[in-house]
Amino acid sequence: MPAAIEVEGLVKRYGTLAAVDGINFSVPAGTVFSFLGPNGAGKTTTTEILEGLRRRTEGEVRVLGLDPWTEGAKLHQQIGVIPQDFRFFEKITPKEAIEYYRALFGTKVNPKTLLEQVALSDKANSRYDTLSGGQKQKFGLALALTNDPEICFLDEPTTGLDPQARRAIWAVIRNLKREGRTVFLTTHYLEEAELLADQVAIIDHGKIIAAGSPAEIIQTHGKPARMSVEGSPVLAEYLRMNLGAAAVVVDGKISVTLSNKGDALKILTAIEESGLPWTSFTTTHDTLEDVFVRLVGQMDEGALKSEESP
């Protein structure tokens, strides 16, 4: 699959401060790529460089084969951008705004179809200043799609929205992917990235500290899965003695690390064979959020080195 976005050795300095400090990644066309990071990590700077809104200090950037800074005008014909907290002329309706953008881009898109696509048909003739937060974001999405873009840049599109509005935006993002568009999504919500993204990169202090699919990142950087058993504390010692398993008692429950895929079954069988009393068990594994919090925490302590994307 050809890369829609390619970034090599990207650096953005403000004076002596490197907001983005030599990052590399690439986004295959037609996939959802999620760019994660705490506030001030360099997310927005990177995104704006890709969109051609900010000039880079060093490095090579190609979006749809174009240099976003010098070939911005050409690039903007092929990308759609929804900024964080989308704002527009207060007295203008979504329908009028689409007609305006249609005239600017010289496209023939039907406002009705576009508004249906983002589930905003019922507000086609409502002025921007009368819309709710979620409706405003959908308005922004519809406008970003006016030029039928190959890449959609969504900068924290669901921040501050209620759960229902968030789910509506997710549905639109899934739809964009289905239509073969590339989606570049920055978000604060790790579950959003885990749900929607094919590839994820975590940036902190201007460096990429993890990259890959959500599952790969969890596997590489997450703690092993654990089984928690409610039952006699003696079970912990039994499992250590008989299986050599790493079993400890935590908060009155037996917690066992699952190092391999078959471990859960072996442990349950051993417990059953021990004849010791037990009532229930659960298994837990790290989420992307657990990994994110841990990685960013380690980065803050200076214990982690940046990693190159695959």
Partner: protein, 370 residues
């Protein structure tokens, strides 16, 4: 430069404007209020003593001075002596907006002493009958007093001092006539300046410029669409002001196509200047401050409410560096004095400045961060 882009943006600006009650009030109702307010204030002020412009060809002879003193004492008129030749007096009165004048002829004192009949000349204007009447009455009264004071010699006791009435040579202008071009200038200045300064900083803060930078719309197209909008608005405002001035106060202004260039270059200049001021400022607060520093001196010193010719020489010189002076002076030339040569010079000055400021505004206003 694409016309379709400018048209699309113009429609957005127009829609936003028509849906904004405050904006509509300031462009449609406020001009009438302004004309009404200033028209009333200054027409009321005019009901005091009448300004009587005098040329004394008798070279301040004691009798002529006593005559003028007596006129002043009537409190009906206020004597203002000027040095203009009798040939130019009529046109002087017309050009300076004074409607009544008095000429004391050479030899006034010797004629009076020798009991030879002598005629003063009162210049008045048919458009201002009340001032003409007041002055004629006052001159007649003082002349009678002087005639009585002269000692009758023998059988000859005929009145010595008389006067003839003459119409002044050209149209005489009242305050309201100057007020109309002045207030059109006022709205050409304030309407785009306040709004563009605000737009320049708030659109940047709200990310609307960023939004637009991602479309094929260019900065020049965007600014031209605003200029066209303010030109359209200026035509409407000017029509309202001229209409209100004529209907409410009987203003005398010439409606000529010569006015059109000023209704175009005026907004061209001030939309660009507002954008430039808003672009160089870092925050909306400093933008408003810069806007006010530029706007306020021009608002009062360019001939908006007060004629520049009535200001002290220092302020007159200062007025001539203010671009709005040329807009208002040009409109005065075409609407009042039919002086197209001077109007053309004024229009060219403003146009030249507009081009410079427009280019600077495009240069300094940023869609995106460098």
């Amino acid at each position: 430069m694409r016309t379709s882009h400018i048209v699309a943006d113009f429609r957005i600006v127009a829609r936003s404007y028509f849906r904004n009650p405050v904006a509509l009030f300031f462009s449609l109702i406020f001009p009438i209020i302004l004309i009404g307010m200033f028209g009333l204030i200054f027409s009321a002020a005019g009901s005091g003593s009448v300004n009587l412009v005098v040329i004394n060809e008798d070279h301040n002879s004691p009798v002529s001075v006593a005559f003028l003193q007596a006129l002043n004492n009537t409190t009906v008129v206020k004597v203002q002596i000027v040095s203009v030749t009798p040939q130019n007096f009529s046109s002087y009165l017309g050009a300076n907006g004074d409607s009544v004048g008095l000429m004391i002829p050479a030899g006034f004192q010797s004629d009076y002493v020798n009991h030879t009949a002598v005629n003063l000349t009162v210049f008045s204007n048919k458009n201002d009958p009340s001032s003409a009447g007041a002055v004629s009455g006052a001159v007649q009264g003082v002349a009678n007093e002087f005639n009585l004071r002269a000692v009758c010699t023998g059988k000859s006791c005929a009145p010595i001092v008389g006067f003839t009435l003459r119409n002044v040579g050209s149209q005489v202008y009242k305050y309201i006539d100057y007020l109309i071009p002045g207030l059109i200038g006022f709205s050409i200045l304030t309407s785009p300046m306040f709004s563009m300064v605000d737009i320049a900083s708030s659109y940047r803060k709200d990310g609307i410029f960023r939004e637009l930078s991602l479309t094929p719309l260019t900065k020049s197209e965007w600014l031209i669409s605003r200029i066209l909008w303010y030109v359209a608005l200026t035509f409407v405002t000017a029509a309202i002001m001229i209409g209100a001035g004529i209907l409410l106060f009987g203003a005398h202004v010439t409606l000529t196509t010569g006015l059109i260039p000023f209704l175009i270059v005026g907004p061209f200049f001030f939309v660009s200047l507002g954008m430039l001021a808003g672009s160089v400022a870092k925050t909306p607060e400093s933008a408003a401050l810069i806007g006010n520093i530029i706007t306020f001196p021009m608002m009062f010193l360019s001939g908006t409410f007060f004629q520049v010719s009535s200001m002290p020489p220092g302020l007159q010189a200062f007025a001539r560096v203010l671009p709005l002076y040329y807009v208002i002076d040009g409109m005065n030339q075409v609407m009042l004095f039919s002086n197209t040569t001077r109007a053309l010079t004024d229009a060219l000055i403003v146009f030249g400045l507009s081009v410079v400021v427009f280019l600077a505004a495009i240069r300094f206003f940023k869609w995106r961060d460098e």
